[in-house]
Symmetry: C4
Subunit: 313 residues, 4 copies
């Protein structure tokens, strides 16, 4: 007899069952998983390409400018050690002026602009500048790769409603939130999966349960999509109040998967709601959609946050 | 008891149930979804990379030339403010000539051509030109990424027959249209899905129904493919005339999915027919296919539009 | 009642049912589908990027050199029309020498090498050279994209045995062929699909039938894989002799799908055997596989073609 | 009657059934499949792009420097043959100095830095340098493609526990190992497949059997994942001791598949344990996971190797 059947089917999210205090969330609001991996030295857990692709644009520009300046200082220093007499076109004034001239000669070599009013004459100077222009080209090849990698990186610019609501739904209550696509490109074949994580007061362990969804897949995310978990008799949160959710430090973990239509790329998006981001007795306002005179349907994506209070649930 | 079974299975296209007037279509003839998203400011809903990838080639060339000119003006202005005495090789005539010389010096720096008959001498001028040549390289790295992104973007150049026909099909009537691959590369594992959207006269809402297809997948799209919905007793359009379709403002939404064989890319294509693009009592002419003397099978893709009238249906 | 069940299940290859003469094959030996699409003008059916990616390397080099030369002639001509007095550093001898100097100045501008011993002085000459260096950079960006596209294009370098054999197989006869991976990278999750196409002597139409395979998927294609269709009672070619296959102009169409492990790319490969490439009463020689002293398993891929005659089938 | 049912279902790994001596393993510790393909000449089995992508970084740098030097020697030699009188700016001293000057002129042309203190004058010299600068640009385009290809290559930096353990598991024994993600990026939708390969003492052939796993798929690989094969009555290794495994030269082959979340790339990882890397009567230490003061969960990836002895199994 196999023991496989004895295993209770649970959503295998991979977060483990340890209980943390309430300021810990598994998924940050920006969709990143809240785990830091260490143990391989200062930079061992860092993939340099991933780092370049995922840092912010201002940081990247800073790194490029810094790298450019440092490289020029290093090469200018080398040229200075080789000696100014190995360069033609240098105006020999102070040591400082000489170094600056070599610094700019280095910049002109690294970028291959090579005006040539300063130029290397001896073998040492010529060799180093031959190495520098090759370095420049390779560095630039790297920059091309990084910029393209950042550009073409699959991304889903989903907007999630600020709150998840407990709203009336087909005679019972539904736990629901709303998403939309912020951008003009299309997301197709969208799939949603919603899991809750909470502290079980009995076992004192972190438990995970998947929430059944009314619809878990749509063909196009053109307007907005209200993702609804109907709290029916089978629901693991049947009968829970908002207070219960807070007491159990409940986190609602959302995984979205879609295809970016422009590039046929599969894209992923994550989000999470903790109990203090959920609202009882409220329902989403219908999203305004107008057709312009020339037949174009228009929505305003910020409207997905809006909700109305409801009297009775 | 779960409420999931109570839900009528409907194709979840994601378009909502609002009724628009008749000049609104969900899918434009070029395959784009007819929805504009706003609400994030002037450029907030625009992904700059997607924009660069999807604008027309003339527009892209215009943007590049404009950007190049503006950059040169900005840098030339900066050089002019720094002062012409900081540049060697400048012929000092009128202010206008000076500015033009600096403008072209800027162009030679930005493209890293760097002839060197004009060259920077002071620290300020040298620094700005060092920044300009770096800017040039990075801008060029961007251009490389954009051009490659445009080139390598997955695309399916499908040609759809101008009309969808109501033709005799195996004793009953079929609603059919025809597609072919315009290009010499191969599309494989082609799948079709056809949905209709129409105004329900009773509910006054927009309804969606998926149409069953005779064959919904083929291995190769080598010749042409006539996609047929047999209007049998289970069909949601059983008994509808062309007039009925017009009255209900019916739109036939086609989603195609295939694999571009050269790049193993999944490609998507969309199309839609409204009632005025459908024709009753007509059937497609067989596509001419000839073998050349050296054994090559030849078709002419434009032939897929052609049809003949039929007397009886 | 639905008519879907009445449809005989046939493999939908998409080739149509027209009969051609015997020198026509659907799949060429190089895996290309033997169909030419026309009807959109001289170049209308050609995707320029696909063309650049799929032409042979010598052709590509020729196109680049030709394009480079033509561009230089065009720009040199423009410079010549503008007049040599607008260029500094030109040695004014014969008209021919002037043109050649401008031609090489153009080459130095297009590649942004810009030595500067010849340089533009007037506004017209400077403007055209500013345009030329930008053109050079963009052309080079295109070349980068094309080279990377060629490089990174998914490919499966499968080697197919020259012949398909009718060999004894588990008491009956099997129709089999053998494949191996020519290259050092790994192909994983390999899938095979085999279809026959033949002229039906009764209907006079081209028929298609899928052949059941003993094993249609393997995890790794490390050594060789003999793909076997056991000719059992359910086989569509039960009882056919080689002569029958020839009379029916049978073509055995093979579709392979695998994942290139280095790049996680799905790759496709096609091949076909016609009756004159099939051999009766023969079986493949076992592929020699040796372990070297340092524990490396070695095979020689060319061995997959080898077979032995067998007496009885 | 079809013969398909007679076939015993076995995992089709594609390694064949030949028995090797004990120092041969199918999967090396670095995840590479231990097969070398030959038979197409010295370089015939090598895809040059795959080679560039997969060699180590120091090797790549060496190849680039070597290629750069060789190219410059070839072009310098050509210039020398054309004659130094065809170059302006050359200081004519010894033959050696001349050649060195031409060598550096070549480097300045190949990298398009083009200072211009040396420049070609005659048609032959100008032509060759026009070819060299084009060659430089194309070579650089290649380098860009190779660097980007290396960068963007899908990779899963999985860390496998050094040992596989036979540990108590739910009342019986489990064969288990542990993996974690070394890097800061996320791996999602992780799947595992475990197969054993061993010499069957009866048939003297290499046999393969798939091991059932307690859980074979998890959503996130955030912490660590202990992959367990419960040795129940259905297990092919039921009752085997470590000694039995050694006698049969057992190799446990692990295939992992996951999605790199940053790039939506499917990534593969392989590993294998031979009997001498397995340990009886031991169990993994729980992985330490701490929450930092600002709510970040931290693990140290190296801890996955650690285990404790257990008394009874």
């Amino acid at each position: 007899m196999s023991i496989f059947n004895n295993k209770k089917s649970s959503p295998e999210l991979g977060f483990g069952n340890k209980n943390y205090n309430k300021n810990v969330r598994f998924i940050n609001q920006d969709g990143r998983i809240n785990v830091k991996r260490t143990g391989l030295g200062r930079l061992g857990n860092l993939d340099i390409y991933h780092w370049f692709i995922t840092i912010s644009l201002p940081k990247l520009i800073l790194v490029i400018i810094l790298g450019y300046t440092v490289m020029n200082f290093l090469f200018a220093g080398t040229y200075y050690l080789i000696g100014c007499e190995n360069f033609g076109g240098l105006e020999m004034q102070t040591e400082m002026t000489k170094f600056m001239s070599l610094f700019f000669f280095s910049a002109q070599t690294l970028t291959t602009v090579g005006y040539g009013h300063v130029y290397p004459t001896g073998i040492a100077a010529s060799s180093v500048s031959a190495i520098e222009s090759l370095t420049g080209l390779l560095g630039f090849a790297l920059a091309t790769g990084i910029l393209y990698g950042r550009f073409s990186r699959p991304k889903a610019d989903l907007l999630y409603s600020k709150n998840a609501l407990m709203a009336p739904y087909m005679g019972i209550t539904g736990l629901m939130f709303r998403i939309t696509n912020k951008m003009q490109y299309e997301l197709i074949e969208c799939e949603a999966s919603v899991t809750i994580s909470y502290n079980d007061p009995e076992t004192k362990k972190r438990e995970f349960d998947q929430l059944k969804l009314e619809i878990s897949k749509i063909n196009f995310l053109t307007l907005s999509w209200t993702i609804v978990h109907p709290i029916d008799d089978e629901s693991p949160i049947k009968g829970w109040t908002l207070k219960d959710m807070e007491d159990r430090d409940m986190e609602m973990i959302i995984l979205m998967k879609a295809i970016n239509d422009t590039f046929s790329q599969t894209v992923y998006s994550r989000y999470s709601y903790k109990a203090d981001e959920m609202i009882e007795k409220a329902k989403f306002k219908p999203l305004k959609q107008e057709a312009t005179r020339n037949g174009r349907i228009v929505i305003s994506v910020g409207d997905i946050h809006e909700y109305d209070a409801v009297q009775e649930v």
